[in-house]
Subunit: 145 residues, 2 copies
DNA sequence: TATTGTTATACTCTATAACTATA
DNA sequence: TATAGTTATAGAGTATAACAATA
């Protein structure tokens, strides 16, 4: 547990915040399919992580109201990106899962963003890249805390 | 210029992309004023960096059409966050600049996000934090490349 | 009676097209 | 004639309220 009141640590946190937000925005702009709304993309990402979920669970995870999720799921289904099946235990609920098409699209999206980021990293020297590479697993841990 | 085809470097880029996007999303959720739309916040950030700009310049920087910027600027003015003045050389144009209120709000926003991120960093050990701190200036350089 | 999901409807944000004023 | 900004109008995305089916 680092002492963040120590000199320089606050400045480092400020740098991290600023850089992460800016890089995150720029990465977000690197899209594979312009026809998908941000929330639709996010739902596909959630399904990729969770495997499957009910519309209600998706609405909670995406911080969206249930009627909005109804619409989003219907659009994704029409585009062939998700599949809807009856819930095994509760006939009120449905189970949403991603299709192979969606999986392939997400993989292509990751590839495109990785390529863009790698291109940006070309502008670093060996020493800078070494520092960044050493910090990558730490950033990943932080992102999941 | 690092060799990104080398073993492990591609994995590091993938970690960075994933972590930066996730952290960026989580940071974005830490808002000070829920009543401002993402673009309104972004315009204030742009004005903070540039000092002042015409509506046309703002529309180009925010990747928004001119009529949308007209509306955004009008809303921000109504909220007391920007000031509109006539352009000194061209009577067609206007000059938009942020008010002291907006400046204070942005500072509070940065403070809140820094505090949230610092809280997250408490979950790291000294060694991890040292790596992250060393990488902070590199990330910042990358974000501005 | 409570919960899941849907339908109906309204609001917010952004876009396009047409207009005004100035260069 | 071209450019900066605005007005009028339409489309996408989300919200709230009311409803249906099931627990």
């Amino acid at each position: 547990m680092p002492d963040l009141s120590r000199d320089g640590n606050a400045a480092a946190v400020n740098s991290l915040r600023s850089a992460v937000m800016r890089l995150g925005r720029r990465l977000k702009h690197q899209r594979v399919d312009e026809s998908l709304s941000p929330t639709e993309m996010s739902v596909l990402g959630t399904l990729a992580r969770c495997g499957s979920a009910t519309p209600g669970e998706l609405a909670r995870k995406e911080h969206v109201q249930p009627p909005s999720m109804t619409r989003i799921v219907a659009l994704l289904e029409a585009k062939g990106l998700v599949r809807l099946e009856p819930h095994p235990d509760d006939r009120r609920q449905k189970v949403v899962s991603q299709t192979e098409t969606a999986e392939a699209m997400l993989e292509e999206s990751r590839r495109k963003r990785n390529a863009w980021l790698a291109g940006l990293c070309e502008g670093l020297d060996e020493d800078e890249w070494a520092k960044l590479r050493a910090a990558a697993p730490v950033l990943e841990k932080l992102a999941h805390l």
